[in-house]
Amino acid sequence: MVNLKTKIGELILKNPIMPASGTFSEDLAEVLDLNKLGAHVTKTITEEKRCGNPSPRVCEVSGSMLNSIGIPSKGIEYFIDTVIPFYSQYNVPLIVSISAQTSDGFARICERVSVPGVDAIEVNISCPNIEEDGKAFAMRPSTTQSVMTKLRSATDLPLWAKLSPNTGETIEVAMAAEESGADALVVSNTMLSMAIDIHSRKPKLGNLMGGLSGPSLKPIALRMAYQCAKSVSIPIIGCGGISTVEDIIEYLIAGATAIQVGTATFINPNAMVTLLADLENFLQKQNIQNISDLIGSVRDEDATDDVVFMETAP
């Protein structure tokens, strides 16, 4: 038997496969056994009730998709009263994704969701910081640092910072998150993109722009996961375009300790369970006993530091 256990800080996951925030909900319980997953990750919530973005909220692009769901939220009370108890029936760590438009707002919701039943908090810092110039917290090390520092003093739960591929400073942001107390990095969120209907000449998303997810995002997010693994010592959770077991292996080799599956679940609702079986098979066939043998095993010895840390296409 192969050992699929993996550790994110103190948190032990029975396997490295979990859903990506916003692509998972209680509804999936009808399609698969939620007990099989390494962790449960909820859709980002905000303290206040919110509507989310105008329709259409999703469109297709070549081999992938864009979304501009926004963060519709029934508010924190509903979440605590209904969602947390739902997931408590399962013997699987619950990770709650939170967001806010100010550092103080972030700290407030963080404190409020630090309740029994929650095992870690994922911090979605890809949302606009309205105190500064409206750019997302995750765009700059300074804003990442300021929000993570406030969060660190607001909770004792593990904090996972979720990075954005839209920044030109991936490594600096990763290091800022680590320094200000993040216990892990989720790499990454979606990439700002656009599509236009050539007949109506309207943007295909009601919100004009949206986030690219799915296979097209993979090479970008994998590069970020690799860069982060090289520059920080907290665990990396790979996320972006994973749809096959080969994708998972690639992220693990790049240095990810666990991975999240997002869009693939929309194509095959059973994707995570299928991937779990495929992962076990793959390791068995390759005679790899522990997934930890794979993590960070990339053979990059020929590369110079310059290359590892480059932030532009060559």
């Binding site: 259409p56 081999g63 929309f266």
Partner: protein, 281 residues
């Protein structure tokens, strides 16, 4: 044929229990009009426990010329457990439906469903009126089948651009419906004429409930008439979908629930909604 039986757990909402992801096989795929095709699939019995108005989420084929990525939602046009048959009536529009149109007999098509909440037929509703145009026919057809099974009386007003573009008339007739056809080219499909026809039927006592599909124009009309005569009604709505299962929240529409605007997921709380709650767009 791999059937992936999916466990039903306590908290499942009643409407979407028994969701399956399964490979089906193409029995036939034929052009009905210039734009519409009928796809007949051989499907396992287990997945055919459907309600009229529900839909399946189809994984369209991939070729060098068509590479649809997301699944495509399609209303059930007809289903039969006895014949292990599932049918879709679809309009060839873009990438996904073009790919569907190239399916050949014997080809595999992966489907996810049945999904969503279908039409209801309350026991006290004896006279059903159905107003359909274009793709709406596909969605309303199984309602006629069900009405027939339940021994309800049915009036079907079928609208189209031209007499040639009318579809499924025989199907509705076979289901015992009183069929009224209206077309643009004949000038019979105007709002006024539709109103006239429906009012006439109502005055004849032939309408306890009204069903329709998709169009804004028809929604407004039936809301007005429904208000006037205190008649209930249901409408099947469309919205762009990703997951089809209620997870992604991309398919929401606004509804007016007693003055409160709420957002509901078309894939989950719908695709069928109360006419009086739906909001014209």
């Amino acid at each position: 044929m791999t059937i992936q039986q999916l466990p039903n757990i306590e908290n499942a909402s009643p409407a979407t229990k028994n969701i399956y992801e399964v490979d089906t096989f193409v029995k036939s795929n034929t052009a009905i009009t210039e734009e519409y095709r009928l796809l007949i699939l051989e499907a396992p019995k287990t997945i055919l426990n459907c309600q009229p108005g529900q839909f399946f989420h189809l994984q369209c084929p991939v070729t060098r010329s068509h590479q649809p990525y997301l699944r495509r939602p399609m209303s059930i046009y007809s289903y039969s457990q006895q014949d292990c048959e599932l049918q879709f009536l679809f309009k060839v529009t873009g990438e996904g439906t073009q790919a569907l149109s190239e399916l050949k007999n014997g080809d595999t098509l992966n489907v996810l469903g049945p999904l969503g909440v279908g039409f209801s037929i309350e026991p006290e509703w004896e006279n059903l009126l159905l107003l359909a145009r274009g793709v709406g026919l596909a969605t309303l057809a199984p309602l006629a089948q069900e009405a027939n099974r339940l021994g309800k009386k049915l009036t079907a007003i079928c609208s189209a651009r031209s007499p040639n573009a009318l579809m499924s008339i025989d199907y509705f007739k076979d289901m015992g419906a009183d069929v009224i056809t209206i077309t643009d080219t004949e000038g019979t499909s105007t709002l006024d004429n539709m109103r006239h026809i429906i009012e006439l039927k109502i005055s004849q006592g032939a309408v306890d409930v009204m069903y329709t599909c998709g169009s804004n124009r028809m929604l407004k009309l039936l809301q007005e008439i429904g208000n006037l005569h205190s008649l209930p009604g249901e409408i099947a709505l469309e919205q762009q979908m990703a997951c089809g299962l209620g997870m992604c929240q991309c398919c929401v529409r606004s509804f007016n629930r007693c003055g409160v605007i709420t957002q509901e997921r078309v894939c989950r709380e719908g695709p069928v909604f109360k006419i009086q709650e739906a909001m014209p767009w």
